[in-house]
Symmetry: C2
Subunit: 362 residues, 2 copies
């Protein structure tokens, strides 16, 4: 068994795409609303999709912006909120592209340690004594890259701190609906939405190629980011937004999510079991959903050139470094020992064999 | 006849969209290339579309980037090329959103007077004695907003100056294929492509809602802008790019362009005739194609609150101011007397009546 096994990308497998249904929805959208879908306009996003999202999240249409993928909305939001000298806080580790975006837009990005129940509130409070960030970026459910989920108590406390110190919280929830076990916690915005921006997308629920992401926030903030989006791209790409609206209207979204969970659950179980079996000395985060298990290898593990040695064994891994921002307390971070292990696009057999290969290298 | 007549937006009318054909192309693209079209990836644009464009413009695939509309590519290119303190030259007047984009990305934007055969080379040479711009932005065919087309001789001279002084030229050609009379001039890149970036899109040839724009440039520049695009949006929206590729592959693009020209030609004739008939004292630019006629009203014309007075008469006009950058020589610009008159989305009857109303206000 020398096939290459890829533990790198947090992407859905091709068999997860509802291709035939999406094609029907594109046709219905183009023919049903030609004058809007094929024209310039709808800068805040395709109105029927904004209406669906407003209904689901119990906000007004003025509080919803739909754009060309949530990363672009994150970039525009960063451009709007980050002023020269600004600091942004993230979990440590955090989504590598978010860290890159915030730095490119001019912020110093400071990482607050992540625990198995989410960001360390103790460290967050200590960091707030030094700097009040423009915003705190969180992936509260099945975090990318670590897999951790923020506890209910910590959610409430983060919202209190945001109101007390006056910073925004970005809750990025692309994996939230892919829960394999346990109870859902409330969104941060459900405690108090006044300082919360919620980001999500249909990349993990339908298809990433559609690039349909959305943002929920107070109307004034949505207005400012929409203006910047219009200046940058004129209008969003409308056919894919209209196809998603049609998909939801037909009642096809929840059945599709159920289908995805049935596909991913055995992979999630296989990854949890393989990590427990083959990497007993590692500190493992086994999430209740999402795309990622992660491990911090034991201090004694051989990590020199681990990516290269793994590749020689037909195992592709992602280096941990890019997931780490500047540590808030100057302490060293375990980036060389951190491994993200995405399980959705690999079969249970590949998972078992891949983790076995990894263990043999340490 | 008190129906409102809108002379503001350079948009195609709904009847111009090949809706049924596009729907077929979306379905074929999704079902024919699912694993690519619905996935992350193709950061430089959907490969089969890049191949079609490479073939048409006789460049390599490495010299083609396809993104979410040409304005976004322009924004990313500006982010890459504009360094602190940079100057950008445009025609005067120029596309308002381009001026805004270059300013937002940090440039001082300097306008070089436009003549009926394109940018004034004399003024350009004078301006180059003072500043060498990061780039010169041109709409050489049926210019937005004025309608002027750059002569063959001037094209050659601009390319020589770009090479001599070392600045980039952005030739933005969204209207080029909509020529109603006369002979096409060569693209600037046909004289010497080493300092040329060509921008265009399918917004005027198929549909703006698709947001499929492209850039042709030396491979190194394409690589740098693609990196920035990936950091900003991760991947472009692929279904619409794949639908356009399919549309071209089926041989449907040129017949669609012919159909558009048949639709627009009577409107173009009506606008030219109406301007000559009703605004005899104005300096008119009657183009050989594209979307826009423009006029500079006589100095004696009453322009105080012209937009407001026109609106009261059921005529919606665009103010001229935003089309003007900083004058290179400090001379006043005729922005209050400049009017862009888009003719594609209005019928010949509306055109005749709208220009008649305009004339009555002066």
């Amino acid at each position: 068994m020398t096939d290459t096994i890829v533990f790198t990308r947090g992407v859905p497998p091709t068999e997860a795409f509802p291709t035939r249904q999406l094609a029907e929805c594109f046709t219905a959208a183009l023919e049903g609303d030609t004058a809007v879908v094929l024209q310039y306009g709808q800068q805040q996003g395709y109105l029927p999709l904004r209406q669906e999202l407003a209904k689901e999240y119990r906000v007004s249409e003025a509080e919803v912006l739909v754009g060309n993928g949530s990363l672009h909305l994150q970039d525009l939001l960063a451009a709007h909120l980050i002023r020269p000298g600004a600091v942004v806080f993230t979990e440590q580790p955090s989504y590598d592209r978010a860290i890159t975006t915030f730095r490119r837009r001019g912020a110093r990005v400071v990482g607050i340690p992540l625990e198995s129940d989410g960001i360390s509130v103790q460290h967050l409070e200590a960091a707030l004594k030094k700097d009040v960030p423009a915003f705190l970026y969180l992936v509260p459910d099945f975090q990318n890259p670590a897999g951790a989920t923020l506890s209910r108590q910590k959610r409430q406390r983060v919202v209190e701190l945001a109101n007390q110190y006056g910073f925004w919280v970005l809750e990025d929830i692309p994996y939230r609906k892919l829960r394999f076990q346990g109870e859902e916690h409330p969104l941060l915005r459900e405690f108090d939405a006044s300082r919360i921006v919620t980001l999500s997308s249909f990349s993990k629920l339908l298809s990433p190629g559609l690039r349909v992401g959305f943002m929920l926030a107070p109307a004034e903030l949505i207005k400012a980011v929409t203006k910047l989006e219009e200046d940058t791209v004129l209008s969003p790409v409308l056919p894919s937004q209209a196809a998603v609206a049609e998909f939801i209207r037909r009642g096809w979204l929840q059945p599709n999510i159920d289908k995805l969970k049935a596909l991913y659950r055995p992979r999630w179980e296989a990854m949890g079991n393989a990590v427990r079996r083959h990497l007993p000395g590692a500190q493992a985060f086994i999430p209740d959903g999402g795309f990622f298990v992660s491990v911090i290898l034991p201090e004694a593990a051989r990590t020199e050139n681990l990516m290269g040695r793994a590749k020689d064994q037909g195992l592709v891994l992602t280096p941990g470094g890019p997931f780490f921002a500047d540590p808030h307390d100057g302490q060293p971070v375990p980036s060389a020992r951190f491994l993200r292990l995405p399980f959705c696009a690999v079969t249970p057999e590949q998972i078992e064999e891949g983790v076995r290969r990894l263990a043999s290298l340490l």
